[in-house]
Symmetry: C2
């Protein structure tokens, strides 16, 4: 799947790896760019001893392994993540979130969020964990932290298939961007969940 990029849109990939936008840049690549930025942010937090947040490995269903070649996997498939991509610990509390990027200019399509992620985050909340989404609005060049409660409520009771950017701005918390950490979401956890 490819997209035609309007002129002037900046890519959201990490500073060192950032490429100029091209016509062949796929949605997956853009998603990976934001994901990589979150990974870099988490590495920064790890190094500074601020928090311990890991990306869960993508589950892979291994069908066949060739043991004559040093356990080379020769047949396998990606499986759908049954949870979110990130979890960890901050100030003793359990933290669990999903990071998503959309190039849509005016809204965030709910199709980006898998039903099992909604189920999982409801459980996290039930067990007293800190649950949220980091939503990167690519065209607007803004990234928001939205409490999972808000997204879950929208998912279950909203009559729209996408969240208008204005609603995101109103209900979300703008994540401060910089060089390092790239997306400094940790101060927002203090403000929203731990005060």
């Amino acid at each position: 799947m490819t997209f035609n990029y309007p002129k002037g849109i900046k890519k959201i990939e990490g500073p060192k790896k950032r490429k100029a936008p091209t016509l062949s840049t796929s949605a997956a690549n853009r998603g990976m760019g934001f994901e990589q930025d979150i990974n870099d942010t988490n590495s920064y937090y790890l190094e500074k001893g601020m928090a311990l947040i890991y990306k869960r490995p993508t589950p892979i269903n291994v069908v066949k392994v060739d043991y004559t070649k040093g356990a080379k996997i020769t047949h396998a498939y990606y499986e759908q993540q049954s949870t979110t991509d990130y979890n960890g610990v901050y100030k003793g509390r359990y933290v669990d979130f999903e990071a998503k990027s959309s190039k849509n200019k005016t809204s965030f399509p709910m199709g980006n969020i898998a039903p099992q992620q909604i189920v999982h985050l409801k459980r996290v909340i039930e067990h007293g964990g800190i649950a949220f989404f980091l939503i990167n609005m690519y065209a607007a060049e803004e990234t928001y932290l939205l409490k999972a409660d808000f997204i879950i409520d929208f998912y279950e009771h909203g009559d729209r298939k996408s969240i208008p950017l204005e609603d995101i701005r109103k209900n979300g918390y703008l994540v401060k961007e910089g060089i390092r950490p790239r997306f400094d979401y940790l101060p927002l956890l203090d403000e929203i969940f731990l005060k």
Copy 2:
């Protein structure tokens, strides 16, 4: 970094399928049996709404994917887990642990624990998480919860390459065994970490 998985890794035996221990039973098989029991225990906790504990997927380094065949992975290798196998949330607190089984009759060989797991669990403790080991002494038919602090201290200052069973009994907490949950470790978290 890749490593060779023993052949036995393919067999994931649950409690019903468990065979009587034999000399030919590989360490990997026994490890997977205990791992499966812990997975079953966590599934029970999930269903009953008692805790949310997941096994991290084994990270796999994907070298080649054949997209002409529905994203079939044709070349990949297992990577060593840089953390522990399990983490999640219990009563709002972050929980992180490693489950290990040994058939050694008199002691638990420290070689079962990877250096990066020690590093990881030290970080978990620093961030206020609940960190421990579940150690299954297969021959003695006893399973203990040992605080990560104890294992880390033994790892860093112990002069033995294995922890004597007597030390495990003295410093550990016996996990109650049953049909379902198979290894009921949750009450011990209340007793040890949350009282």
